[in-house]
Symmetry: C2
Subunit: 483 residues, 2 copies
């Protein structure tokens, strides 16, 4: 059995594998600030070339967020599409105990060694872990058991605003893929691995009312609020436009042609129902603030929407639609009162999540038509991302290979038939008609949304270290290939 | 005629008068940041003691913005109340060519010498100019022709959030005042002096929806937006609460009991109509963006509210009510898309301006009752300021003394029967039943809302220098005293 040779190679080259992760983390790539993106994309492209991709390229679609393409043809029977992103969140205002782009190897109890830095956990560590595994297979075996297509984006943090364009450039190549498989870092601190079969659709957009577009109100900048007696207000315009979108409690979209999206619920078959029930039983009577991804006991929800209780909370979280206001901004947005402004623009950031067969573009058209009908033609809709929902059959080969490999490694799999998140990793495979499994694999890190983000290199017995995680990738690939 | 002696004293002591202004500007006092307020208040108190106030005190009303009280009893027949503020705007992000708290004496063409710094124009320069004038009178004459009460606030920039409390502490003393007179810096670069007879009422408040107050939605902090399927949104709650306040075009308050405030217009008598017409004629066909205080040609309004044109623009500006959204904030408020949040709170800052005999407190009660009735009991109203409108008869002694003095100095007076601004300087004299004239005097400076704020020390022939401005204060005081 030659896999031991690969595993030995991993052990012998672990230091250089760590260095490769550090190299990526040390290259800042903050999409929000368009900082270091091209440099980081080029670095990722080099890493793809190093593992043997015959084709590599930066993919420019006329914006500041180049994608990275790679194609590694091994002459194998199966071809997978690997998704990841190289952009990272901003560093933020929280205090870092190490340089955010230093990628230092430090001890962080209970872990003897972690790589510390922005992007270490999301997603440069897991991305390079995968490349390291491929590199060791290539070094020992000469070739991979599958062909791999890479299409890596640089704007995930912004809502994957250009992924459909990136995919369009390679649409003929993407047809080669039989599955989207991008294993990585989906364990919690107890070592449990989330295996996620489905994602809601996600539409992420900004609505802006402005004097510039409206032709009324101040143009190009704010004026003094005292002039409001004679000057129209884009901020009020945005408020009243938003108010036409939902029921007064803000829970249901009332846009004509879209109401049913907020009424309908996915028909859950027996197999999926069983998965749901297993999840519900697993969580039992736990406080939902401790188990629902996205909630936190430190900012608890005490009364849930519509008085939801018990098992219904998880079910609605997974299957109900939502239309959320993620941000509002107009005029002075700091704390306290500052200046008397009549702002020339007002912006709301919204995200809609739903499971519907209506295409995300169609939903956007209906939203636009509604605003036009209501007299708000001037309100600009800027779409950050519009992705359909998608779900993979648990019997699909990628899922079975993952579950089999997890079982061999002894880490418990927690299967989620659906989650409330969404993005290109669901939309693209659905459009291609192929199964998809993103993350749903070994690897642990944390603090990706705050300071001291880390990715574990040396585990604590509950979560694996880097070498074991890379071995897992190797086995998964062979299991998927059926070799 | 002894005034020449006083004028000579001003000329001989001009350097020390400049130093006194610099001393105030060099003490930062940013109310928004609660920076240096007590230190600056204490400095102002010392300056009041130096000009001979028998009583001086910091006035503490349980917040971070101490007032400064002073009483200078000259045994005179008349007593005036002098209003000013010692707090300044934040320095802002614009580039300063000199240190913002350096108070340097620099040349700024066409002015040979200006004092440069935050607060130099608004309002430390004009405040100290007045004190300098008093000091020279005292030095030469031994006593002032009037008694002066000082009640100076440290939160004007925040909407004068504690002035009614400050006034309440000295309510018996304030009854001694026969007029509010606080001359200062109301010239434009051409030397024209705005003399303002009336101010709209001003209610400045914040509406906040929050999970903490509501008991629904996240409490104490935001959660991930994906949880919106099961978690209520304070941001939507704020939107729908705001939408109940006004007509869909955002121009009229539709709160029961307050509609008439937005329908009624002040009955303008013949004398006031004549003043209005003089203003309208003065401005002629000029672009309103160049003449309406608060508008700017750099951020122009091209279509005015309801299609207003011509002379009606100025009239509505002066007499129509308004309800303005000065700021909206919820979640991430920077540019672009950042993180998927379900914010735990959302805030709108509003300012209402109107001419109505309904008391500002009564308007607030009706607003509160409306929100309660509509089911928004949890939405917090934080009042930054609530001030009634007020207007002074042009025949009042303070106005006549000012116009007479201006005439003597040869600067043209532009009389505004009303302006759209408001605050304690209108509310307090109205409550006391005394006439009021704030600013409406010599003095020139600019850039109070941006970088390189300045106050002119040496004029250009069109606007006076500091010595002439101080002389004006002296003459005004004697003219008012009728001596």
């Amino acid at each position: 059995m030659t896999r031991q040779g690969i595993f030995d190679h991993i052990d012998q080259h672990l230091d250089s594998h760590i260095c490769k992760i550090q190299e990526l983390v040390r290259q800042p790539s903050v999409s929000l600030l368009t900082l270091g993106l091209r440099e980081c994309a080029e670095l990722v492209r080099q890493h793809l070339a190093e593992v043997g991709c015959q084709e590599t390229a930066l993919v420019d679609v006329g914006d500041a967020y180049p994608g990275v393409w790679g194609r590694l043809d091994s002459g194998a029977q199966k071809t997978i599409l690997y998704y990841s992103h190289y952009d990272v969140r901003p560093v933020g205002h929280e205090t870092w105990d190490w340089p955010p782009f230093g990628a230092e190897l430090v001890e962080m109890a209970p872990y003897k060694r972690v790589i510390l830095g922005r992007g270490a956990r999301a997603s440069k560590g897991p991305l390079q872990t995968w490349l390291n595994a491929l590199q060791s297979i290539k070094a020992v075996e000469g070739r991979l058991p599958v062909n791999v297509l890479f299409l890596i984006e640089g704007a995930e943090i912004l809502g994957s605003c250009n992924y459909l364009k990136l995919a369009d450039v390679y649409k003929d190549r993407l047809k080669e893929a039989q599955a989207l498989l991008s294993p990585g870092a989906s364990q919690n601190a107890k070592g449990e691995v989330s295996v996620v079969l489905g994602f809601k659709g996600l539409i992420y957009l900004e609505l802006e009312a402005s004097g510039d577009a409206w032709g009324r109100g101040p143009i190009g900048g704010s004026v003094h609020s005292a002039t409001n007696a004679i000057v129209d207000s884009p901020a009020w315009r945005l408020i009243h436009a938003l108010a036409t979108l939902t029921t007064p409690d803000g829970t249901r979209l009332v846009v004509p042609g879209l109401e049913h999206v907020f009424d309908e619920r996915k028909t859950i078959g027996a197999a999926e129902r069983a998965l749901l029930q297993r999840l519900q039983e697993r969580f039992g009577d736990s406080d939902p603030n401790t188990i629902i991804p996205g909630l936190s006991p430190s900012t608890p929800v005490k009364v849930f929407k519509g008085g939801l209780t018990g098992k219904r909370i998880l079910e609605e979280y997974l299957y109900a639609p939502s239309i959320n206001i993620s941000g509002l901004r107009s005029g002075y947005t700091g704390p306290g009162s500052k200046s008397f402004l009549l702002p020339h623009s007002a912006v709301a950031t919204l995200d809609l999540r739903m499971i519907t067969d209506m295409d995300a573009q169609e939903i956007l058209h209906k939203l636009r038509a509604h605003l036009d009908r209501e007299g708000f033609k001037d309100i600009r809709i800027h779409v950050y991302g519009a992705y359909n929902w998608g779900q993979t059959d648990p019997h699909a080969d990628v899922v079975q290979a993952t579950l089999k490999t997890l079982e061999a490694y002894g880490y418990p799999a927690v299967i989620w038939p659906m989650v409330a998140f969404g993005g290109p990793w669901a939309h693209i495979p659905k459009a291609l008609g192929i199964p998809a499994l993103r993350n749903s694999a070994l690897g642990y890190g944390d603090r990706a949304a705050t300071s001291n983000e880390f990715y574990v290199v040396e585990g604590d017995g509950k979560v694996p270290g880097l070498a074991e995680t890379e071995r897992f990738c190797v086995d998964l690939l062979y299991n998927y290939a059926g070799i």
